[in-house]
Symmetry: D2
Subunit: 145 residues, 4 copies
């Protein structure tokens, strides 16, 4: 893992505040337990309504977790007075999402002055065993507020 230096000393409080205001994140119940410079993790309890017709975690939920984790990882590295928007994201579905909970791990691979590139790995936990179900990669643009 690359080491990143935060530009905003209050990055964690800022991220926590953004998370509190993120309606869809809270609607799903995604919670973050790790916010460090360039690396954010979080968990989601997989409720029955988050599944598709075969009983696997819906790819849209997986994509949401990837954007949340990668996006907040990118957000830890901006200056005070800056925000980010997602430009694009690609997600590859490696394994079916089976289990009771999901873990999302977002990490920055390049932090530029105008653009941040980040990736996310989504795991599901089933009977105590974790499986990597998806990998995402996204581009974020930095905006001045």
């Amino acid at each position: 893992m690359q080491q990143f230096i935060p530009q905003n000393p209050d990055y964690e409080a800022m991220i926590r505040s953004k998370m509190e205001q993120n309606h869809f994140m809270n609607f799903l119940g995604f919670k973050s337990n790790l916010i460090t410079p360039g690396l954010v993790e979080g968990f989601l309890e997989i409720k029955p309504e988050y599944k598709q017709q075969i009983g696997f975690l819906h790819g849209g939920v997986t994509a949401t977790l990837a954007d949340l984790a990668a996006g907040f990882a990118a957000f830890t590295l901006v200056k005070k007075g800056q925000t980010i928007v997602t430009i694009e994201m690609k997600i590859s579905y490696l394994n079916p999402g089976i289990g009771e909970s999901a873990r999302a791990r977002g990490f920055v691979i390049k932090a530029g002055q105008k653009m941040i590139f980040a990736e996310a790995e989504i795991f599901t936990e089933n009977n105590g065993e974790e499986t990597l179900v998806a990998k995402g990669n996204a581009t974020y643009a930095i905006l001045e507020l």
Copy 2:
């Protein structure tokens, strides 16, 4: 638009049945009004809980709509006894998602024997005017049940 010939004469009934069983789709409230060979459309009422911290439609909801529309468009073209899984999807966020409702339009660009490539356009409607907020493109693998 390319013309596609469905391999399953009951494709619409099959898709309707899949939609009824798709928990996350129904949880969000996405409804389809158009199911034709290689082209599926649907609508979503944008509830406050589908937004992110700035008040725009959350990118995860947008990605979900793209996967639903493109995936069901692909699904119209498989044979009886076949199903599809999403291999990967990329989504580009072109404009902020502002409005009361969203429309998703999914369409196939290549239907092969093992793989189907499809795209999706997501629009939001605000005061009667539609804006293209995102464009997605995805690969689906055809599986024998």
Copy 3:
């Protein structure tokens, strides 16, 4: 096709000049016959050395054509004193690249103040018949020189 208004009245001369200086484009022999606001087309004679081991057009050449066509389409829409860089590109390989020549068609789908989104379609011509072999989509950042 969306209509775009060029910000630089001399866009065609600017693009022609960039094309003359693009070493790899000229090394391959890609030539453009159509440069309009937001839409650029070009052709490539498929030499034996552009193929992979099975005799199809190499995916790297196809990706190069996609980036050239989409990139120059984006370039038609910037102001004097601005340039663009490719942020990312995705390319889907729809059909094997068989034939004597390739045609690349790049077109903008959203031109913003800081970012331009463009797509490209790559066709090969074999015995007078064209096949869509690949579709790409890319993000370009606008930079001030």
Copy 4:
């Protein structure tokens, strides 16, 4: 790095033979010095004709290196009598490609029965210092010959 078990004991000889027949790879002069199960590396001397108008390595060359490295990494894991085709690839351009040579490192992240997911990192070397200039990720379908 994940450990992968090759299904074809002669995987290295098979890859070497494919490389000899890959016209575009040899035309550019890409050479591989490392072929292991799920991980392939190679080098390219950056000739002036591989650059774009500003003097950086052309994104099409970078994309070619990514597809070669990731594709051959995927190829190490198929059975005798199988081949692979690139379904799609995304490449993110992290830094300008400046230098005398490029190194491509391709590695598999998931090897399934029908599909292999692989990534690639492209570095350029300038005055003895390496920079990560691009990261790609691709999907390969396994075909029976």
